[in-house]
Amino acid sequence: MSTAASSSTSETIAEPGLKIKVSTKEGEVFELDEKVAKMSQVIRGILEDLGEQNGGDDSVLPLTQVETRIFRKILVWLKYHAGHDKEEAPKAEEDEIIARFCEEIPEWDQKFLNVDQAVILEIMLAADYLDIKKLRGLCCKTVANILKTKTVEQIREMYGIENDFTPEEEEEIRKQTAWCEDEPPRQGSNH
């Protein structure tokens, strides 16, 4: 709504020619546009730190925790959003924008994460490592949306989680949470 006004000031022009090289866990090197690379706050921070001493054009940032196959996925997401997102928001509004984005995940992003849950989790970890908050939030919300539809038993089964409560403990917790076990009242209002 009213927040849109703040961000529509400039078009998205990539700086021509400026490329950032990064390498994945396996050592594969990728060349990214500066704009794309800087969507990772970690890479942005490094580049800013190095701004003065400068890295030289042959230097490669080693992203030792990210596997190539996951990085490829992330790159797709980054490139899409680099081209489609409005100018980045001021820090104060970042949380809100992410929250809103996660509340109603756009169709493109839904499709992007229409993959095996294990892959979503890996993307999530990599996004956390690279500090790409929006992508991390997107992954978290997507997993939460899956959890939401499952019973406790189904959640355990889905993730292979052992029920490590004693029957007594579980009964106790069941009592405590009885009020949220049933289908919650979905009527629009209660006043």
């Binding site: 030289g56 104060a92 956390d128 490592y129 991390r136």
Partner: protein, 240 residues
């Protein structure tokens, strides 16, 4: 200071030469690379390894080949991020899954920020029950957030704010982010609250009209709260 670098906007015509000469000065030597690696190592801190007790315990029971296994390998911080995104009732329900989930869902920190987005759909009663679990006599700091703007939330927020007086005698700082706060909520704020923080919050007056929009984080002390309320109240009763 961080702001300055942020605001730098690419100007294709004039900037590139300056930029590239700054960064791509001929110094791709070992020293520069070393600097990068050091900086990178510092920034790219290793993600927490799944080593804490609760963790390994459940992990040992997970079939390593199970494609879904990784959720138990997530650091607690990320697990919490996921669980936080569940509706309130589902969060409580999930305390039954296993001990690790329960621990993470029951920390005071977990309840420091409550997302009221689902308050309308689960109902006021359920919301109250949820708050009862973790918002209590020890709560000093509390944040409510809501990304969806709904009239139900607006009403709920008044009742919720009212309920805090008895529940949290030590509450010092109450924060609202994103959403609407109606006039009636202000006098309901417990007297123990010293600071009311509003970020991206719209105050609406008694006629449901937008009165004031706090985009930036704004802290109001008691005096300011009172002044705002009086102003709001006036705007409701006068100039029809």
């Amino acid at each position: 200071m961080e702001k300055n670098t942020r605001q730098r906007r690419p100007k294709p015509a004039s900037q590139p030469s300056a930029l590239s000469s700054r960064r791509i000065k001929r110094a791709a030597d070992a020293a520069a690379l070393d600097a990068i690696r050091k900086a990178a190592a510092k920034r790219l801190r290793l993600p927490p390894q799944p080593k804490n007790a609760v963790h390994t315990r459940s992990q040992s029971n997970v079939d390593p080949d199970s494609p879904q296994g990784p959720i138990m390998n997530l650091p607690n911080e990320i697990l919490v991020r996921i669980l936080k995104m569940l509706p309130m009732t589902d969060q409580r329900r999930s305390t039954r899954v296993c001990k690790r989930w329960r621990l993470n869902l029951n920390t005071p920190a977990f309840f420091q920020k409550v997302n009221l987005c689902n308050a309308a759909s689960i109902g006021l009663q359920a919301t109250a029950k949820y708050l009862k679990v973790g918002v209590n006599h020890e709560t000093v700091n509390l944040t409510f957030s809501c990304t969806t703007v709904s009239p139900a939330y607006t009403l709920a927020s008044v009742a919720i704010v009212r309920s805090l007086a008895n529940r949290c005698p030590l509450l010092k700082r109450l924060t609202f982010t994103n959403g609407r706060l109606p006039l009636e909520a202000l006098p309901a704020i417990p007297s123990s609250v010293q600071t009311l923080v509003l970020t991206n919050v719209t105050l609406i007056n008694g006629r449901g009209k937008i009165f004031k929009f706090y985009r930036k984080e704004t802290g109001l002390n008691k005096k300011a709260m009172k002044a705002v309320y009086q102003e709001l109240h006036r705007s409701t009763t006068t100039n029809k």
